[in-house]
Symmetry: C2
Subunit: 201 residues, 2 copies
């Protein structure tokens, strides 16, 4: 804004809201104004919820998940099959797979992918703990649910190498046509993968 | 989420973030995760900024603006021309006009428009205070910068009626082609207004 038209507390709120992923400078202003208008119903509870989250959030020392307890809810859930571990790059991937609700397994969050150019080697990722979990026994399958990118696949190969000598079945997600997807819009790589992995109708 | 995969503090943060204008349930999850990851740089300062805003925010008793002082920064700014008052529906409109930076006037925020169907009559809006401001003297022009909607125009007419007998010039925003706009995409109403109000080249 060219001139100061609001107090420093409001300006600061807008500045910080603009850094929230999904909000830009323009929507941050709109959000700030709406939050201020709904002070009692929204701004105040949100401030409290954030302050509580700051205090409560923990990184699970077992799997790398984000939660408010350590070990996390997923690791301590007795109804989950501990023999299957789904390896993901990020907590967001864990949440996405949980929304799909297809597996009742446990997880291991790597915290990224190998990327030598960015200085991210095996020690920067949560890989050592994964190998230890598998070596500790009781794990029969490791599903490498990393992204289908070069970095993701490199990381998957590295992990497979590290697991050599350990008794565990290593699998990866199927490649193919997304459910509801139109062939016309798909890239050649996906189409050839879908053709190669075709299944009986 | 089908199963509980994160602690109640995180779930509550996501729920409240989803109510922030501009964020939906999906982007609220992404935002929550990013906020948690940047706990020290973003989540903690944002929680503090929100708590401060809750305490600091005031509605200006003079013009209805939102600020952290009463009277607000705009009303107390000695460099502004107090003889011109721009009447807006909402604080967001005040901010938008300030970003344009075209006028150095003061404002009056109505807090909405007349809408009998929604039970919003003159008493629900900040109109009485506006008439009092004008009746108090020292105001030579009132610019009705309400939205170009039926409700906005109805409100403008009502205000003009209430001002009868008072010595003040009442103006409204020009209708016309938006700067950078393409004629092909404009509605007939705007185009005829722009033609009628054509100016010398």
């Amino acid at each position: 804004m060219s001139k100061r038209i609001a107090g420093p507390e409001i300006e600061r709120l807008i500045q910080l809201l603009a850094k929230v992923p999904g909000l830009g400078p323009r929507s941050a202003r709109r959000a700030a104004l709406q939050l201020i208008k709904k002070k009692e119903q929204l701004l105040s509870p949100l401030a409290a919820a954030m302050a509580e989250a700051v205090d409560a959030v923990r990184i699970c020392s077992n799997c790398g998940n984000v939660d408010t307890c350590d070990p996390c809810t997923v690791c301590t859930d007795p109804r989950r099959d501990g023999a299957t571990i789904i390896v993901v790059e990020d907590v967001a991937d864990l949440w996405a797979l949980e929304r799909a609700g297809a597996m009742n397994a446990r997880y291991h969050v790597l915290g990224g992918t190998l990327s030598p150019l960015d200085g991210i080697g095996p020690d920067e990722l949560n890989i050592k703990a994964l190998i230890d979990r598998v070596a500790g026994g009781g794990v029969s399958e490791l599903i490498l649910a990393v992204n289908a990118t070069v970095e993701g696949q490199t990381t998957a190969h590295y992990i497979t190498d590290q697991l050599s000598g350990l008794e565990v079945r290593v699998t990866r997600l199927a490649h193919g046509v997304p459910v509801g997807g139109e062939l016309d819009y798909l890239d050649e790589g996906t189409l050839s993968a879908a053709l190669k992995s075709r299944t009986a109708f």
